[in-house]
Symmetry: C2
Subunit: 135 residues, 2 copies
């Protein structure tokens, strides 16, 4: 089971690259593609989606490109995952009403909820900046 999809992976790589250049600068897709060797059109769509989601700002026209809207220190891995993969929700009912009809009382549900929340708080500590520092 894979935890990270390719969209998330590419998005994170691109963001880390952008954070590494200079926080306020506008960076073009081509620059990222050249350095990170990612498929151009695919990455375009990913960045567009990041812009729509309010992580990046897009600048059209000549001298255009993308820049951070949210500062990279405030962009969490979970934010990116949520955009491309949806919420990581361990607390979803595992077995549907057929097996476990008593949703309110189900201790499994409770247990998983706690687990999920623990995982979530830990994951939320991982930001683009904390990742880019590793390099």
């Amino acid at each position: 089971m894979n935890f990270i999809s390719r969209d998330t992976d590419y998005a994170v790589r691109a963001l880390i690259f952008m954070a590494g250049v200079s926080k306020k600068e506008i960076i073009t897709v081509d620059e990222i593609v050249k350095k990170e060797r990612l498929p151009e059109r695919f990455l375009r769509r990913i960045l567009q989606r990041l812009a729509k989601s309010g992580i990046l700002t897009s600048h059209k026209g000549k001298k255009g490109g993308f820049s951070f809207f949210v500062p990279p220190a405030a962009i969490r891995l979970t934010d990116i995952m949520e955009i491309f993969q949806g919420k990581i929700d361990l607390t979803n009912c595992l077995l549907k009403s057929k097996v476990c009809p008593n949703v309110k009382k189900c201790p499994l549900r409770k247990k998983l909820k706690n687990l999920g929340q623990g995982l979530d708080t830990e994951l939320k500590k991982i930001t683009i900046v904390s990742l880019s520092k590793e390099r």
Copy 2:
């Protein structure tokens, strides 16, 4: 992101049903299908796989069916997930060598490893019997 695939879901339902009947009895696929309303041929394959994996024993011929090889108290949710979905491995390198080249030192990796192990030990506590008791 869905944590539990349908195979796992159906397998767990079938096993809970079987555990509810009588521990040693041989149960046919048809019985399970009727009670749990699962797609017959699909469930067959699932039970076959459980037999191959050593969870169940299959009995061919008339009066045949499936019985537990591993007692339901010892069958963990994670065992089933592993059979149908592979290991839940948070510790996989998230970003490949492109982003995070220093696999040995990477603190993210370390952090995720701890997270994953925590999740794993908690999940391992959930067994077929503990689930069937909820009902």
